[in-house]
Symmetry: none
Subunit: 338 residues, 2 copies
């Protein structure tokens, strides 16, 4: 909590009037959400860059908002191009060109499209907790080979203690939030699920990204899966691909990547559906497990996921890294420190 | 050449005066370069999208310029964020926000920065040749769930017929080529292997990439692996990580991604060693299989790889796609053709 408190102090300093209001927080907590009134980025005060991914054109920064308490994370990501209406949105007189150089048939330019057709996808987390910040920070990473024994002794106690609130997931399942965003719903308590666009998705087919969230509570991750879950998993595969094909004009199942994350970012089982050509975050082999493989593994061996060694990646800044380090499984020797 | 000719005809039609000038091309070829006078993108007439990479935010299109002969390629790539002067360029009143939705501490927005600080890197190739176009053209890809039966009936006959020569691999193993590049060698005929830098590796630790190639011939891919290969696989894991640590100043095993490809690009078993933070090509879950997972799967079930359904990705332009299509397993219905 250290940085949240610190950020809070800074915000108070900038806007002393806020200090009084702070005492009324229990009554008017909504007031402190930056999301109520934010019109532009002028009030954002940069503390530091957490991550700058040049390939993905993604910038993640930590800071504060001048008139609000608490730390904030601003995640900016340039958008993929949308193929519809390129003639109206991009290939126009508004898209001015400034030549950098030319060589033979090749010319390099800067293109300045109109403001309205060149927006940046922006996610703001406020107030942000220490663990949000740790999540986005660029850090040395290590791969752990988690045996069932290490899961029981280290991972499981850790995640029981540290896990994020699942309230936002339950809000979706109970129609208390994002109801209008639901693409498909099967209310069966055992095999049912909600299919919803992922928060990161900008809506274009080129970056198609949906999440299937089972109605059934208590399945933390693939570690908990066994034969009893096959009907759920197969329903998600079949009804999920069908719903996507129906909603997105015949999007074929053979062009979908359907997978779990291990470790997941939250511990209510969920399945990612992304366009196969989209290099979505978290699709590397050390993190993503294809639904088809998971189903097949359980069919081959009902107890597969309680017996298997599952590898996953952990950042040095995460508590889980320290736990594995204390256990002698990992060391902080890293390429970054050379 | 068909598309180049067509594009040329269209340009002639739009500006008939140009037709006469065309005859003078050898004398005044400079005149026909679009790079001389281009001020904006309004004259670009889109023919088709060659490639749209949503992760890199890169769009490549083919078309013509209304007042010029010849095909053109326009390559647009959103720019990475520049960390200098973020306060002046991005966190300003100009950067208007439009809220999409909020849920708990998370808010999703569109941010509309000022035109001058949100330009797009643009490369224009004009006149473009057929080979430029082929270079940038994208292909639909599909995922196949290969059961053991499909492997026997389709994949195996195909790869027996089509596979590339393995002579270059045998040359390495027999010291007939690349001998001086070998990082480590264990000559045991059953469990031995050669460790060698991958051809793509530029030698910097940030992109570390080596290949382990077993001495043993006849193992085509992970499909052929069983209990008898465990000593080989464990030796590659242990001696491979040790050799890399020794050669590259203590490079830790926990920062290596060690994996197979399925399908591989050549059918003599080989294992990739890359730096965990390096987004090497072919590390997505639909293509890469961790050595640790492969060893564990065989330990759990000796016949795992002859019983498992293995998914892999195939391009529509590949012969293997046609084979699966003829078998009714895949169809050429694709997002790209919508």
């Amino acid at each position: 909590m250290a940085s949240v408190e610190k950020a809070s102090d800074e915000a108070t300093y900038v806007n002393p009037k806020k200090f009084k209001s702070s005492n009324e927080e229990p009554k008017e907590s909504k007031k402190y959400s930056v999301h109520e009134s934010l019109k532009d980025l002028s009030k954002f005060q940069l503390k530091r860059v957490l991550n700058n991914n040049a390939q993905k054109k993604l910038l993640c920064v930590e800071g504060t908002f001048a008139d609000h308490d608490g730390a904030a994370i601003v995640l900016l990501e340039k958008k993929a191009f949308v193929e519809e209406k390129l003639d109206e949105h991009l290939f126009t007189e508004s898209s001015k060109l400034s030549k950098e150089f030319e060589n033979d048939v090749y010319g390099n330019y800067n293109c300045f499209p109109s403001i309205e057709h060149n927006s940046i996808k922006t996610t703001i987390i406020h107030p942000a907790m220490e663990k949000h910040i740790a999540k986005f920070e660029n850090q040395p990473i290590h791969i752990v080979e988690e045996t069932p024994k290490l899961y029981e002794e280290i991972t499981l106690p850790h995640l029981k203690k540290e896990q994020f609130s699942l309230q936002w997931v339950y809000n979706i399942l109970e129609h208390k939030a994002e109801k209008e965003r639901i693409v498909f719903e099967d209310p069966d308590p055992k095999t049912g699920f909600v299919l919803i666009p992922d928060l990161k998705w900008d809506g274009s087919l080129e970056t198609l990204y949906l999440l299937a969230i089972p109605m059934l509570k208590g399945i933390k991750s693939i570690r908990d899966l066994d034969q009893s879950h096959l009907p759920l998993l197969k329903n998600i595969r079949d009804a999920g691909t069908k719903a996507i094909s129906k909603k997105y004009s015949g999007f074929p199942a053979s062009q979908l990547r359907i997978y779990f994350h291990y470790q997941p970012s939250f511990y209510h089982l969920h399945i990612h559906f992304t366009y196969l050509k989209y290099d979505a975050p978290g699709i590397f082999t050390e993190k993503a497990h294809l639904l088809s493989t998971v189903i097949n593994n359980i069919e081959l061996m009902g107890e597969y996921y309680s017996k298997a060694t599952l590898s996953f990646v952990v950042k040095e800044s995460e508590t889980l890294f320290s736990k594995y380090q204390a256990h002698g499984v990992l060391s902080s020797q890293s390429v970054e420190k050379k």
